[in-house]
């Protein structure tokens, strides 16, 4: 009888030797854990659909990839040129964003000035603006007949559109908000009394920024830079509008994918796989920062 009793059932103390009490406790606890309760169908079905919706396209990419010819295709000069240009441009754009964006984030987080809310709203505009519109706006500003571009052309004989510089500018334009928002959040997250302590030790605001603030927000800046780099790497709309599509000069990976889809679909899939691998790599790199954080 005793051996047939379910582990969680109460036994009469002393009457029969109950099974190992530790096991019964574990069993009982597992039985009432929320994860074992039924998930309502109206929530379970859409949730599963959402997951499938996100994952299946990527599975499709993997299934249709020309695995056999993958190594040769990766080493084709056009692919390598596009890959190289993408990496260089995204890195340069991230550099530009760091140099300009960290001070802007500091200003937004640490200095109260009239119109700060407006400035913060303006910073987020490229985040919601269709990238094509951003590219067009850049063209109107920096094009050969643009508001600033005409002077650059007349005085210095400098033309920005349809150059690698234009790629960097277009990518920096769309990626800068990511960095500013991430770094501003990090700055607001650190205890600003460390900066007060630095001031009482005789540090000017610049010294405080350099020697106290920057080291303390370094993880936040790194995370922002990675996000910024990923956004720049995938940039398409602003780049093709402002920088055009010249192989080796302005044709980045996303542009190549789009064009190869017309002429050589397997090659497009190969490039897409590379971009997918980079994205997953970034997620793994940021795992500690966001994804790994327990709920």
């Amino acid at each position: 009888m005793a051996t047939d009793t379910p582990a969680g059932a109460p036994g009469l103390p002393g009457a029969e030797p109950t099974p190992d009490p530790s096991i019964s406790t574990v069993e009982r606890r597992r039985r009432v854990r929320p994860s074992r309760r039924l998930v309502p169908v109206p929530l379970a079905v859409p949730a599963a659909a959402a997951l499938a919706f996100l994952v299946l396209p990527l599975v499709g990419l993997l299934v249709r990839a020309p695995w056999a010819t993958l190594p040769q295709r990766l080493l084709e000069p056009e692919v390598l040129a596009a890959l190289r240009l993408s990496l260089v441009a995204a890195t340069l754009a991230t550099g530009v964003c760091l140099v300009l964006g960290v001070p802007l984030a500091w200003l937004l987080a640490r200095v109260s000035f009239p119109g700060r809310r407006l400035v913060r709203a303006l910073v987020t505009v490229p985040l919601v603006l269709p990238p094509v519109v951003g590219g067009l706006a850049l063209l109107l500003l920096l094009g050969r007949r643009g508001v600033i571009g005409q002077w650059l052309y007349q005085w210095f004989d400098v033309t920005i559109p349809f150059t690698t510089t234009a790629v960097v500018i277009a990518e920096a334009f769309v990626a800068l908000p990511f960095l500013v928002i991430a770094v501003e959040g990090a700055l607001r997250g650190i205890d600003d009394r460390y900066e007060e302590a630095a001031a009482t030790l005789g540090a000017s605001r610049w010294t405080t920024f350099r020697r106290v603030t920057l080291p303390l927000v370094a993880p936040g800046i790194a995370a922002g830079a990675v996000l910024c780099w990923a956004r720049a790497l995938g940039e398409f709309g602003a780049t093709i509008t402002f920088a055009g599509n010249f192989p080796g000069r302005t044709q980045t990976m996303p542009l190549s994918v789009y064009l190869l889809l017309e002429t050589d679909p397997p090659a497009a899939i190969v490039l897409s796989l590379v971009l997918l691998a980079v994205s997953v790599g970034i997620l793994v790199a940021l795992r500690e920062k966001w994804i790994g954080r327990p709920a």
Binding site: D191, R193, Y194, E196, A197, A198, A199, T200, L201, G202, A203, S204, T207, R211, V212, P215, L216
Partner: protein, 371 residues
């Protein structure tokens, strides 16, 4: 020379220092629901404790002196230089000769103990090597030379406190501010650290202001106490003067006395509640009566003998307090504390709500003018 009366002279008058040395300040800071308005002087080499309950304005005063909060009005002069006059003059914190030991120390977590202490000298223009040498010397002075390369998170509370002290002193500030320097330490560490801190503060040639809510810290560390409540100074003087003659309920509680205010006529002080205290000291006019909880005797029935210092009360609380029992009473003069032995407490069967008779001998009371 005019007569010297340490207890009751105005704050500026009591300073022994010439007007251009040390700290002279009138701090006025307006907040929406709160106004700080206090006058402070600290002579070079003197340690003054700014003592008060939470929310009294202690931290606001410290921040104003450090330059972290600008004055609304008033003036701060340190070593003959105006730092803030509530208007045009405002010297930012980095250009004041003011060192701060923050309550939670705020050691830079990304720097070693040595680099933390070297931070100040480095900002003052010392070379890296010079700054490190100065820092090492200060760490050695607080007994932490062997922990120079440790990060703050590797230090114990007491060690972190000493690093914070060394960091503030390495700039050799004309004014050293300590915000609740021992509050973050456990009781055992606090005892050792308090004694050691006292030694370092005694060595400091500049002015020192210790902000604390702990009377023991104030009594041990400071030469003089300035007690503030609700943004104003309510009493100042040395420990002996403050403990002998508290002037507010807060100070009385700090020093463990029952305190009442009434009208004195000879050896009698009549309280607003009608109760008349026979006192040992003669006093006239507005006056305080103070007596320690140990002077209060409790009886189950109206006691015979000196009836004037006797009142019927209700027990509102009974707590163990060291080796005796602290009994809170209501009624008679107002709230009162009585200390009895555990044996007496057991005999009287003390419990909240219980009526009881309290008595105080005239010889155990102290009476002094309130004006």
């Amino acid at each position: 020379m005019t007569t010297v009366d340490n207890q009751d002279t105005g704050p500026y008058a009591s300073t022994p220092a010439p007007p251009d040395a040390g700290l002279r300040a009138r701090l006025v800071v307006d907040r929406t629901t709160f106004r700080l308005d206090i006058t402070l002087t600290v002579a070079p080499g003197e340690v003054v404790a700014l003592l008060g309950p939470n929310g009294a304005g202690k931290t606001t005063a410290l921040r104003a002196l450090a330059g972290l909060t600008p004055l609304t009005d008033g003036r701060i002069d340190l070593a003959g230089r105006c730092l803030d006059d509530g208007g045009r003059t405002f010297v930012p914190p980095e250009r004041r000769s003011v060192g701060v030991v923050f309550q939670d120390y705020l050691l830079f977590p990304h720097l070693s103990a040595l680099e933390n202490v070297a931070f100040g000298p480095r900002c003052q223009g010392a070379s890296r090597a010079q700054a490190r040498a100065i820092a090492y010397e200060w760490l050695a002075r607080v007994g932490l030379a062997d922990l120079a390369s440790q990060r703050p998170r590797q230090l114990s509370g007491g060690q972190a406190q000493r690093v914070a002290l060394a960091r503030a002193l390495a700039r050799q500030p004309a004014l050293l501010l300590l915000d609740e320097p021992l509050a973050a330490l456990d009781a055992r560490t606090r005892l050792d650290t308090r004694a050691e801190l006292h030694r370092h503060l005694a060595d400091h040639s500049g002015a020192t202001l210790v902000v604390t809510h702990d009377p023991l810290d104030a009594f041990v560390l400071a030469d003089r106490l300035v007690i503030i409540e609700n943004g104003s100074v309510v009493q100042e003087g040395d420990a002996a003067a403050v403990t002998a003659r508290p002037r507010t309920d807060y100070v009385a509680r700090l020093v463990g006395l029952n305190l009442y205010r009434g009208r004195g006529e000879g050896h009698t002080v009549t309280l607003p509640t009608g109760l008349a205290f026979a006192t040992a000291d003669p006093v006239h006019g507005d006056a305080f009566v103070a007596f320690p909880p140990t002077a209060v005797a409790l009886h189950p029935d109206p006691p015979q003998g000196s009836p004037r210092n006797t009142w019927s009360a209700t027990v509102t609380g009974v707590t163990r307090h060291g080796d005796h029992v602290r009994v809170q009473l209501a009624g008679g003069p107002g709230e009162a504390a009585a200390d009895v032995t555990p044996a007496a407490a057991a005999t009287l069967r003390l419990a909240p709500g219980q009526p009881i008779w309290a008595a105080v001998k005239a010889t155990e009371t102290r009476a002094y003018p309130a004006g």
